[in-house]
Amino acid sequence: MNSPITVYVPRDASALSLGADKVARAIVAEAKARNLDVQLVRNGSRGLFWLEPLVEVATPAGRVAYGPVKARDVAGLFDAGFLDAGEHPLALGLTEEIDYLKRQQRLTFARAGITDPLSLADYIAHDGYRGLKRALAIGSEAIIAEVLESGLRGRGGAAFPTGIKWRTVAGCEAAQKYIVCNADEGDSGTFSDRMVMEDDPFVLIEGMTIAALAVGATEGYIYLRSEYPHAEAALQATIATANAEGYLGDDILGSGKAFHLHLRRGAGAYVCGEETSLLESLEGKRGEVRPKPPLPAIEGLFGQPTVINNVISLASVPIILDKGGAYYKDYGMGRSLGTLPIQLTGNIARGGLIELAFGITLRELLYDYGGGSASGRPIRAVQVGGPLGAYLPEAQFDTPLDYEAFAALGAVLGHGGIVVFDDTVDMADMARYAMEFCAIESCGKCTPCRIGSTRGEELLEQIIVARSEGPQPGRIELLKSLCDTMLGASLCALGGMTPYPVLSALNHFPEDFGVSQDAAEAR
């Protein structure tokens, strides 16, 4: 063989958690033993997690995939001639033709799994930094106009229009403005932020730089949760590269504009994902929620005007600038425009990252993409939008993923995480857990959340103990009124939305609480 054959083994944390490093080492050793010239690239993940570690080989016809590969499969793959796309029980054909991937609309995740995430050259060769170049050419007002036109709404949970937030900060007079990236991703059932940071970190850096140009900020922070050491390493490496190559620093691409980007590690507090708590934490304080107003856009970090956006919101900006707001807006439905990186997780046969235009139904996701539960048992409930999101029963599986359609059900899309449960789930226990989690993570600033969550946990424990002995209307009423208080009187959504999972579990699965369906409906 004259030129080396390129083999890809992902470096994404999910792939590593399933043995990707061992597979990579085995491939290198086996190639050496067989005197074959192999060039190993540690790419990002494609997000097809039931197939990880997914090994790809570059062939004249395109990249072919094998998976899930264990280290002990490697010798057999060589025997089967996988370097020439040889047949093997783990062979999946051309990667791009895998149905799960082929049917997606990857805009924000256009490069994930394709490139070497740490390579700036690879990033640029795959359309990276085109958005920034255009942003530099058109200037602040036109950048904000593109983002407004795109219809992009914040992907961190609250779905506030990103362009409006930016316009507010741009309109403030201040000596110093900040761009803050919320990379606290604490919701169970989510990992799209992690994937951006590990599998295509430059796109986040580019998005933050464009935001800085738009509003006139020169300093930026990424607040990253401490549970993500791989993302931290990837960001450190790519921020250093971007600084060295003039994509960050005092003079971005010779424009005379400066943007300095800092990486900060959180410390294991879920509430620090709430934007004002995050700002307190960045200032070196306890992560207690601030009352609003003032909005962070007007008085944010160190009291200065601050754009705070989720990772996915910021990572969606480069393609909007490159292809135009109208291009992005063409995807989606109603007021939910563009694409949503959906994370299909929990008890599901084919879990992974699915980026699609808004509008797909839960049922299509769960069965067409997900292939039903992992256990093979019927799916009983899904929780959408993290620990503060409602549980949805089968009867609601035809709901399209759309902010307004979910709101109409008293549910939320949140950060796009879907956690699947089969029919062994105890919904009263999930309600109890929601209260427990709120009690563990409450910042303590307001009473309904601090005291209410502990009271709710106790109450649900009592309900669970006594539920086999018949209805307990007193306790159920108490639970509902407690939820009412938390909903209405909490300072932030941790206390204010914990009732969502609790009440949805009670309303849709009353039998788990010792309440009959009829009794629940009559109430």
Binding site: S14, E227, Y228, G268, E283, E441
Partner: protein
Amino acid sequence: MATLPQRFDPEQYQAVTREVLAAHRDEPGALLPILHDIQDRLGAVPPEVLPLIAEDLCLSRAEVHGVVSFYHDFRASPPGRVHLKLCQAEACQSMGAKALTAELQEKLGLQLGETRPDGSLTLEAVYCLGNCACAPNAMLNGELHGRVDVEDLLDLLEEQEARV
């Protein structure tokens, strides 16, 4: 992870704290990076260093204590040489994390939140490791492991104990 005595050598922690403070004191909002650096190097944020930090940053001791105690990550004494975190959040629960945790606790004779008296092992709860499509999950001395069962975990623990 190095073996650490439960009592810190004052010279060591003072030196480390001085170095860390010198590296960060000019950053805005430097307290969290300082605490992280100290914990990265000592395995914990010993209560003895809080006055040093307070004085250096012109904060009250109560303020520094308030920050340290707010965050789940900061600990007053180092964890065991082997540090296993088991994910307890919803996606991992949907794949049997509770039963897994109960079984492991029983096999090890150790509950979540406890450290063996000889400092060999700490078991801890964690709420989501961002690997929810590969549940249940565990993190062992900083390494993520997906789709684990009790046998996997016991094997991994044995491997780690041999390594440290």
